[in-house]
Every structure is written in C-alpha cells, then in structure tokens.
C-alpha cells in the first residue's frame, strides 16, 4: 500500500452559523487501506467528520482532500453506510442495491450484474426478491452495505452501522465486513461507541474529546489481518481494549 494519504483533513473547523463549535482544529489523515475508527463521547463530532468527508456538509474553515480532490468532486469514490439501513421500502432488495448505479445512469443489465455480486458478498443472494419489511435488522444492514459496495468505492464511510443490532449479529457482521475488505481493499472510516468493535476492526483508533470536538489521542492497532473469532480471545486484543477504554474514560472526565 502506498504511503500517500487518501483522505486528509487539515485544521478543519465546523460551526453552524453562530452556534456551538462542533469541530475545532481537526487534522487527520488516512492512508490507502487504513481502517480508521473514530470513537468518543457524545457530541465530539465524529459523525460530523463523516458528513464533511462525504460532502454532505461544507467545512467552516480548513480543508479536506479526498484522493486529492474536494469532497464534492469525490462522489464516485465514496460510499456511506448510515446508522439506519435507509432502504427504499417499495423496492426489492435487488432494486435497493442497484439504486446508486441507477442514480448514476447505469444500464439495467450492468446494474443487475453488479447487484448480484454485491449481494453475494454479503450472503443475501437468495433474498434478492424480498422487500425490506420481510428482513431482520441484520439483513437490512447487510443490504445497506451491499448497496454501498455496488459502486466499487475506494472509501467506505460507516456511521455506527451495527449500533441497533444484538451482540452476536454485530460480531458476525464485523467479521463479514473485514472479509469483504480483504477482497475489495477499500479504505474505511468507521464511527462506533463500542470499544471491542473498534479494536477488532481497525488499524487505527482515533479517540476524540468534546466541547469542542477535537482529536485527543490516536492509538494504532497492531493486530494482524485477517482477524477472526480467535482474535477476540487473544491477550493483545484484551490489552488494547483496556487501553482504549482507559483513554475514553479519561476523555469523558475532561471539562
């Protein structure tokens, strides 16, 4: 993997009008293939960073470069997975996965092929004709991920995607996510409240503080990929979880 940054935030500041400052002087970079997790207390701006990177919101000052370009121009390279699956209820699973391709003007044949591949990746090929209301929470999330992958993104932004699911499903989906990453090789920005999840998935954890939102500590995660169920049992894993938890608690105690 090359050393140059695929995402670079420089001295980013975000404020809504005269309101509170959401982010203050945030500088952060990610190299190609990194899996960066943002973790921190409520209000630290971690979801906002994702929105800024995706171009949904503009920065107040500072700059963001996505693969050398402004976020606005980086549409094809980014995919976003929200906290809610945000599927179109009137479309089948297959149509939902095809949606971003449809919006970009791809033809029906190409769309169908890509959707089939994406669904296979998340293991939902047999359910391609189902409607969202017939799926479980975990299945809907998988569809959302398949949809995000259908545009072959270079960068995947995920905002607490597994937060509403139970522990076991969440662990399964974590493992699946890493499996897909191994095949496709995208860079990830991930937001979560769960420390074990952060440690399991990431190559780097960024702990943020709030009031105002800023970066407090960066903790590299040296565990080797591919990571499996056994990884969770290892001593290194437990140690990292403890360290990150400690850091988090110290951040929460800050004024």
């Amino acid at each position: 993997m090359s050393d140059e940054a695929i995402i670079e935030l420089r001295r980013v500041r975000k404020q809504y009008g005269e309101g509170p400052v959401i982010l203050e002087d945030v500088s952060l970079s990610a190299r190609r293939g990194d899996f960066v997790t943002l973790i921190g207390p409520s209000g630290c701006g971690k979801s906002t960073i994702l929105r800024l990177i995706s171009g949904l919101s503009p920065v107040t000052s500072g700059s963001i470069l996505v693969d050398g370009a402004e976020p606005q121009g980086a549409v094809e390279k980014l995919s976003f997975v929200f906290q809610e699956p945000t599927l179109l209820p009137w479309c089948t699973v297959e149509r939902n996965v095809e949606l971003p391709l449809r919006l970009h003007g791809e033809g029906a044949g190409a769309r169908r092929e890509v959707a089939a591949r994406s669904l296979a990746l998340v293991g939902l090929s047999e359910r391609s004709g189902y409607y969202p209301r017939q799926l479980s929470g975990g299945q809907k999330m998988r569809v959302s991920i398949a949809r995000a992958l259908s545009v072959s993104p270079k960068i995947l932004l995920l905002d607490e995607p597994f937060g509403a699911l139970d522990e076991m499903t969440r662990d399964h989906l974590n493992e699946e996510l890493l499996g897909i990453r191994q095949q496709l090789g995208w860079t990830a920005f991930f937001v979560t409240h769960s420390v074990p999840e952060a440690v399991f998935l990431s190559s780097r954890i960024v702990v943020m503080a709030s009031n105002p939102g800023r970066i407090h500590t960066e903790i590299p995660v040296g565990l080797p990929y591919p990571r499996t169920v056994e990884t969770r049992q290892s001593r290194d894993f437990q140690g990292l979880v403890a360290e990150v938890s400690r850091t988090l608690r110290s951040v929460e105690r800050l004024p």
Binding site: L99, L103, R133
Partner: protein, 271 residues
C-alpha cells in the same frame, strides 16, 4: 414474520360472516322501527320489500341515472386526481409557494356548492360540464392536501442518501418522493372516491340537466320526492350508495395493488 395460522382463519370468518350478520340485524331493526312508529308516519319508512319492488319497477330509470351520475363522477374524479397530483408536485417544491397558496386552497374548499352552482350554470350551462366541475371541486382539495403532505414528509435519511449520491432534483422527486408519497396519495384517493359520487349527485341536484334523459340520481331524487314516491326515493338512495361503494372499492383495490407488497398498512402474508 408470518401471521399466525389461527388469526387468518378468524379473519376469514370475520370478513364473510360478520357483515352478513350485521346486514340481517339492520333489516330486523328496519322492521322493528316500523313497529314503533305511529301509523300516520309509517309512510316515511316503507318496508324493505316495498323498496325492492320500487327498485325493480324503476330499474330502467335508475340504471340510466346511474350511468349519467357515474359519468360525471368519473370524469370529475379522474381530472381531480390528475390536476391535484401536478399541483401537489408544484407545492412540494417550495415552502414559500405552499405558504402562499395554502390559505387560498382552504378558502376555495369552503365555498358551498349552492353558491357555485348558479355561477357555473351561467358560464358553462347546466348539465354534464357543471356536474363534472362540481365533482372536481369536491374531490380536488383532499387529494392536494394529502399528496402534498406525502411529498414533503419523505424520510430525512433517504433524502440525505439521494443527495449524497448527487441525485438530480428530478431523480429525487420521481424515484424517492413520489413513491414515498404513495400511501398518502391513496389515502387522499380513498377520501375523494367517497366524495365523488356525493359530489356528482349534489351537482346534479343544483346544476343538472334533464334534457334527453341526461338526468342523474340527483334529478331522480327530486322527481320522486316531488311525487311523494317514498319507496322509490329509498331505492334511489340505495343505488347511490352502491355507486359510491363501487368507486371506493375500485380505489381500495388499486391501493392494494400498489401498496400491499411493501407497506405496513397491509398485513404480511409470508416470511
């Protein structure tokens, strides 16, 4: 995800037997009410068999009137659906436009038919045109309000997702807002379907034209009441209800077709 077996058996029973029971009870109540009435007043509530007899005797007139009223109702309703949809699309585009136009829509909705009818007769003459316009006016407003509400109530997350994919405004409207508004649209459609036949009949009463047998159910109502043919009056009312029911039923069927696969308002059939 599937409905339990015992529930579906119950619902089949409920759906078929209960209405029949209710209908039988209503007929019993009808006879019973006649027993309670003073002899002088009996003529006001003819027995069911007299109404049926009148229905058979007047069948040709009732049929012709139903076709006439049905025609006015259909054209008025259909055009209201089309125009209201376009209006709703325009209204959904801008809160400023909505704020500006909503008060006038509300006011227009309040104008009573009795006042409009003579004006319409002056402009377009009594007959199908006036009846259609009156039906249109009655059906238009519920549809505009409901459809607009649907178009502006789209899930914020979905709108964000579309924006993130840099979807065009047209894509946002036709691939997201319009499908999401369908449940609201069909609600408005069902309300208007109920009003369509009422509107056509009222329109017929105030602005209808009896030339060449064009008279509708409203016209028959006036004639029968002028002649004190009470049983025929009830028969006309019954036929009017049936016509209204047909309209509503068609809309319910359309609504089922459009929504049953994915909308929560329809119970699930399969896991």
């Amino acid at each position: 995800m599937s409905a339990p077996r015992s529930d579906s058996r119950l619902s089949v029973l409920a759906r078929n037997v209960m209405p029949a029971l209710a209908g039988a009870a209503a007929v019993l109540f009808w006879y019973g009410a006649r027993l309670l009435m003073k002899p002088d007043q009996l003529f006001l509530l003819p027995p069911p068999q007299a109404v049926l007899k009148a229905m058979v005797e007047k069948a040709p007139a009732l049929w012709a009137a139903t076709l006439s009223t049905g025609e006015g109702a259909l054209i008025g309703f259909g055009s209201a659906v089309a125009v209201s949809f376009v209006f709703a699309l325009l209204l959904s585009l801008s809160p400023i436009v909505r704020a500006g136009l909503y008060p006038y829509l509300m006011i227009l909705q309040m104008v009573p038919i009795i006042v409009i009818a003579p004006i319409l007769i002056l402009w377009v003459g009594a007959g199908l045109a006036s009846v259609t316009i009156i039906t249109f006016l009655i059906c238009f407003f519920p549809m505009v309000v409901n459809t607009t509400q649907g178009l502006i109530s789209t899930d914020r997350n979905l709108v964000d997702y579309f924006r993130m994919c840099r979807a065009t405004k047209a894509q946002e409207i036709f691939l997201l807002r319009v499908p999401a508004a369908m449940p609201y649209f069909f609600t408005g459609l069902r309300i208007s379907a109920t009003l369509a036949t009422i509107g056509a009949i009222v329109g017929d009463v105030f602005a209808g034209n009896s030339a060449g047998g064009q008279g509708g159910l409203g016209y028959l109502t006036i004639v029968y009441s002028a002649r004190f043919e009470i049983a025929a009056l009830y028969a006309t009312a019954a036929v009017s209800c049936v016509l209204g029911f047909v309209f509503v039923y068609v809309v319910i069927a359309l609504s089922w077709l459009a929504l049953h696969k994915w909308h929560d308002s329809f119970s699930q059939s399969d896991a």
